[in-house]
């Protein structure tokens, strides 16, 4: 039973093998690229994922046959070339030309656009990648993109195939193989530089668009951390692309001369190689310049469709990071990545706000609030009181409740406790009572003297309220007025 299963599996696998071979290309090639001879290839390896991705994409779109064919062709050519090193150079340039032709025939913007998406997706390698690619690319560019990506994948496949075969006969073909690799690389480099340039376009577009789409309310809040990471990543990629275009050329020259020196007439070969290279460099730069202008527009159109999809755009970036083998851009993202982590944890409370209300602007004070609490306020307060747990948990809390209700004498918090009636009365009202003698009393004489003494005594009395003191004075006033006759008789008034 098991044997049968295994057998059938084996058959399946063997049946699967031929079409899978090209698919296995990229990893094999990366390994090979580690061989020191292919140093240039290593440098390119990062950029090369573009074509590899395209290839993958192509496969999924269900056109493996031409690729396989192409690969075979490539294999044949290389085998031929290996036997005859001299011809091989010509063939290499031929492949190069093919590639260039293809590139020129294409409408560049679209390819590039498709490529960016594909690149991202190939890296993500998510199962729903097809749907995404469909939703991403505009409907009008769909038909073109198919053929374009095909072509690119062909090129990619060819280079890979080349390298595989080369690795098989590594030592034998050492003199020629770097050249070829380089040639192919240059071809790819053109493409990849385009990619680098275009990626920047994408990110800036995204940055600009983010707030707008945010407001439309269709989308998950973009996580700033991840946005950041994507941006920085792409920026880095561009900067490297720029540096590569400059730093690679002396290396290329060096490698070319090294390659040429192994050939019979070295100087001629070298000059030929270099001419070829320069020509290619110029073409690719031209292409890049031409492309970057138009791509912006197209990508601007494309991105909207994708974001309407409601998919958080940060996700592919995430997965890219995880898919990288550690030599990629993760390790040198430095502080950005750390900050990224911090941000992600606090994420929801640090996202952007609605931005409807102006901050800090002093708004009109509410005139109704000045009028005192309305019935509605009282209703709200009573609603809150009803739902809140008001049961006291201990005796002190019960006393607090009573204090609030006014049932309990307040606990003394200063030495004026219990003087509610007198709180509004200032101190001097208590002490300086003389002004109350102004009317109703004589201005001088014994009664006045007596009353001044009374007032002094009252002023020192802490136990009576001001009201009581005034009553006291008033009593004397009445008393002396009643006794006025007697006093007049005694001539003291």
């Amino acid at each position: 039973m098991y044997r049968r299963a295994i057998l059938s599996v084996y058959q399946r696998r063997s049946a699967l093998k031929p079409p899978r071979d090209p698919r296995l290309g990229p990893p094999a090639w990366t390994h090979l690229a580690c061989v020191p001879v292919f140093r240039a290839a290593v440098q390119l390896s990062r950029r090369a994922f573009g074509s590899a991705g395209v290839q993958l994409c192509e496969k999924k779109e269900g056109a493996p046959a031409p690729v396989a064919e192409e690969v075979k062709n490539g294999g044949e050519t290389t085998e031929e070339l290996q036997t005859e090193p001299k011809k091989r150079e010509g063939a290499a340039s031929k492949t190069e030309k093919e590639l260039k032709d293809k590139i020129e025939n294409r409408s560049f913007q679209e390819t590039a656009a498709v490529q960016t998406d594909n690149t991202v997706k190939a890296k993500a390698q998510s199962p729903d990648f097809r749907t995404e690619s469909e939703s991403d690319s505009d409907s009008d560019s769909d038909s073109d993109s198919d053929s374009d990506s095909e072509a690119v994948s062909r090129a990619g496949a060819k280079t890979e195939e080349n390298k595989i075969t080369e690795s098989a006969e590594e030592r034998k073909s050492t003199p020629a193989s770097p050249e070829k690799a380089k040639d192919n690389e240059v071809g790819k480099k053109g493409l990849l530089e385009l990619l680098g340039a275009m990626k920047v376009e994408v990110t800036t577009k995204r940055k600009l668009k983010a707030p707008k789409i945010q407001r439309s309310g269709q989308e998950a809040p973009p996580r700033p951390g991840e946005m950041e990471s994507t941006t920085s990543m792409f920026q880095q990629a561009t900067s490297e692309a720029a540096s590569q275009s400059e730093t690679l050329s002396p290396e290329l020259v060096e490698a070319a001369s090294a390659a040429a020196s192994t050939l019979p007439d070295s100087t001629q070969a070298k000059s030929e190689l270099l001419r070829q290279l320069r020509k290619h460099e110029a073409v690719s730069q031209e292409q890049r310049k031409g492309e970057t202008h138009d791509i912006g527009n197209i990508i601007a159109d494309m991105k909207v469709g994708r974001r309407l999809n409601g998919r958080p755009n940060a996700r592919p970036a995430n997965q890219i990071r995880f898919d990288e083998d550690g030599r990629g851009y993760t390790h040198d993202r430095g502080i950005t990545s750390e900050l990224d982590g911090v941000r992600r944890r606090k994420n929801p409370f640090l996202t952007k706000r609605l931005s409807i209300f102006p901050v800090g602007a002093e708004q009109e004070p509410d005139t109704d609030l000045a009028a005192g609490p309305t019935l509605w306020d009282a209703d709200l307060a009573s609603q809150i009181v009803q739902v809140v747990n008001q049961r006291p948990r201990n005796g002190f809390e019960e006393m607090i409740q009573w204090t609030r209700e006014g049932k309990l004498w307040q606990y003394p918090i200063n030495n004026e406790a219990g003087m509610e009636e007198e709180t509004s009365v200032p101190f001097h009202e208590h002490v300086f009572l003389e002004r109350h003698l102004e009317n109703g009393f004589p201005q001088q004489g014994p009664i006045r003297h007596f009353m001044e003494l009374v007032v002094t005594g009252l002023g020192k009395n802490p136990h009576l309220s001001v009201k009581q003191k005034l009553e006291h004075i008033a009593w004397f006033r009445d008393y002396f007025q009643q006794k006025q006759d007697v006093l007049n008789e005694a001539e003291t008034y």
């Binding site: 309310g217 049961r391 307040q410």
Partner: protein, 671 residues
């Protein structure tokens, strides 16, 4: 002589004048010193060269400060019942029902007293208190002013007599007296608030709110209807009610008039009408105030169907607020978030921007805000996958903060947070929620006793599920019965936790609590406990305590004075019997066997086998024969088997053999 007196008098007069001036200066200085310590601070720093003297600001204490400090020293006693019951030990509640009953009794006693005082104020005029305590005096609820005047209208509005106020207003208009705009607005407020019905008296003998609470609980339990269902049914905004009528009669209307109408409409469910009134307001070139917008935002989800439309309407309202320079409040944003709860997935994307807007405006979110966020992200129906971190985020945002109640929805937070913890089985977050409850005055926001029981019920359920039994028991002692009276489901959870961690020996102890909490009449709980005890053999001591417990249960079953007597089931009977057998209490087990007949239940075959084993252990042939007889009387299929074993394994007398053979023949006959 006289002149000398006058001279002295003048001297004194002058002196006092001087003194007065001095003292006034001194006073001013003193006040100055007290009032603005900050102002003095720089002066101190200038003069103080070596040692800086920082004069602290004057601190104003509120009148409860001392009591609050004292109250903070008191810890909760987990062995005591709630403080409100401590006056009377007889009224210490043991069950949740008793808790409710006693606390309601206390409340209703107070309300009854208040009712009498307010109904017969003339008997309660003597004021014993000095200083006067206003809240102890009867409130005047009767109308004092009877002639037609504005004063009468004001009085009626203050006493919240809606119908009388409307009548008075009409009479005033008929008499041709103009009513001022403010007063009319007050009247509109009153009518709108109460939906043109007289409000029930707050101190009516039957505690209205409590009863409503009960009703709502029932409704919620049965149908899961929204909380305010009864409110909506009771009060509806009728077409052309007095508020609208008066509003239309008003010669001039200002923002408040519109506001009263709109808020009343929203409160009483006339949502689209409220929006129409708002349009009128704008057409009259007035602007809304924050209350109008709050009401409209809370009504927004009612007038639109699609999520996007709802949200667009809310955003539109917010933008209008900003245009009209209306400053939003906490309630505005809470209303927005509450509306977002009904916007499906849209809410998830917009919730945090709303909160960040609040923060940008310097409005501190209340617990209701966070509750709405949780409600948006954790729908009851859908699984909470993918948003598990939201609760964490919220908790790390608010942990350690003390909240005050600002929104009636604040009390929902703890309950809902615990529900999410339970749904996601996240004990860590549950502990965090619980520790948040202990911060400051947050315990007040747990809500009334019903909410408390839900919260603690969920917490305890989660503990039983996730924690080790020792921790569970620690919490059990902590929470029960001082804070929480678990329902029978809670006790079953506890039993299951005991079972999981193999601590069945604690069952007798738990049984005591079950009895005390009045769950001993819940058949399911009792039977589960019995079956747990009967399931496997324990060490002898435990087995003895199980047997005591089982006898206790048996006594409950045989009690006749209960309102709802427990009825024996086959399971409970055989569980008790086998517990007794395992404890080697053969005599009592034998009595149990007789109960089967009385209760018309049939013992299981394994039980009969168990019986035979125990009879064999005591080697009582007579009992063995009786067992076979009983078995035969139940027509158990195991009878022949038992008979055979009895004949083989026991030394039977002749008589016994005869009985057996008689039985054999009779069973054979019946077969």
């Amino acid at each position: 002589m006289a002149s000398s007196y006058t001279h002295v008098g003048r001297q004194i007069h002058r002196a006092t004048k001087l003194v007065r001036r001095d003292v006034k200066d001194a006073l001013q200085r003193r006040y100055f010193g007290l009032g603005s310590a900050t102002f003095q601070q720089p002066a101190a720093t200038v003069s103080g060269s070596a040692e800086e003297i920082v004069i602290p600001r004057k601190k104003t204490w509120n009148k409860e400060a001392v009591l609050q400090a004292l109250a903070s020293t008191v810890n909760r006693d987990p062995t005591a019942s709630h403080y409100v019951f401590q006056d009377d030990s007889y009224l210490t509640p043991r069950t949740s029902a008793e808790f409710k009953l006693y606390s309601l009794a206390q409340e209703s006693g107070r309300t009854a007293a208040k009712y009498f005082i307010n109904t017969y104020p003339k008997y309660f005029q003597k004021d014993f208190a000095n200083p006067h305590i206003p809240c102890l005096m009867p409130e005047t609820l009767e109308l004092q002013v009877n002639e037609v005047s504005e004063a009468a209208l004001i009085e009626r509005i203050q006493l919240r007599k809606v119908k009388a106020a409307v009548d008075m207003y009409d009479q005033l208009l008929q008499a041709g007296t103009p009513v001022s705009l403010d007063l009319t607005n007050d009247l509109l407020d009153l009518i709108s608030l109460y939906g043109d019905c007289d409000p029930a008296r707050g101190d009516a003998p039957e505690q209205r709110t409590e009863e409503m609470g009960e009703e709502q609980e029932d409704v919620k339990r049965r149908k899961g209807m929204p909380q305010k269902a009864s409110d909506f049914l009771r009060l509806v905004w009728r077409e052309n009610n007095n508020a609208e009528r008066i509003f239309n009669m008003m010669p001039e209307r200002n923002r408040r008039s519109y506001g009263a109408l709109i808020r009343g409409m929203v409160k009483h469910g006339a949502y689209s009408k409220a929006f129409n009134t708002y349009t009128d307001l704008l057409n009259n070139r007035l602007t809304g105030d924050v209350h109008i917008f709050n009401a409209l935002i809370s009504a927004a989800p009612e007038v639109r169907e699609k999520y996007v439309e709802k949200w667009d309407l809310i955003v539109d309202l917010l933008k209008q607020m900003a245009e009209q320079k209306v400053k939003p409040t906490l309630l505005t944003f809470n209303a927005v978030l509450k509306a977002l709860r009904r916007c499906g997935s849209l809410g998830r994307t917009q919730a945090f921007p709303v909160i960040n807007e609040m923060k940008a405006l310097g409005i501190a979110p209340s617990l209701a805000t966070y509750d709405h966020v949780l409600g948006i992200f954790y729908k009851a129906a859908t699984s909470a996958q993918g948003h598990t971190e939201i609760l964490q985020d919220v908790l790390s945002e608010i942990s350690g903060k003390s909240f005050t109640a600002q929104d009636p929805d604040d009390v929902e937070f703890f309950k809902d947070a615990m529900r999410i913890c339970l749904a996601t089985k996240d004990i860590e977050q549950a502990y965090r929620v619980h520790s948040l409850l202990g911060v400051g005055e947050n315990w007040k926001l747990l809500g009334d006793s019903y909410y408390q029981s839900i919260y603690y019920g969920r917490f305890f359920n989660l503990l039983c599920m996730m924690e080790h039994i020792d921790v569970v028991l620690k919490w059990y002692k902590e929470l029960i019965p001082s804070l929480y009276y678990p329902n029978s489901q809670g006790m079953r959870d506890l039993l299951q936790a005991l079972d999981t961690d193999n601590r069945l020996d604690l069952i007798p102890q738990i049984w005591k609590d079950i009895k005390r909490m009045g769950h001993d009449n819940k058949t399911e709980l009792v039977e589960e406990m019995l079956s747990l005890m009967a399931r496997e053999n324990q060490i002898p001591e435990v087995q003895q305590s199980f047997a005591d417990c089982a006898l206790d249960v048996k006594a409950l079953y045989t009690q006749t004075d209960r309102r709802v007597p427990l009825s024996w089931s086959a399971g409970s009977l055989s569980s008790i019997t086998s517990i007794l057998l395992a404890a080697e209490r053969t005599q009592q087990a034998w009595e149990m066997l007789k109960l089967f007949k009385l209760a018309n239940r049939v013992p299981s075959e394994s039980l009969m086998n168990q019986f035979l084993e125990s009879v064999k252990a005591s080697n009582n042939a007579q009992q063995a024969v009786e067992l076979v007889q009983i078995s035969a009387s139940f027509c158990l299929s195991i009878t022949p088997n038992l008979m055979e074993r009895v004949q083989q394994e026991f030394d039977l007398t002749e008589e016994q053999r005869n009985t057996l053979s008689d039985l054999e023949s009779s069973t054979a006959m019946s077969d």
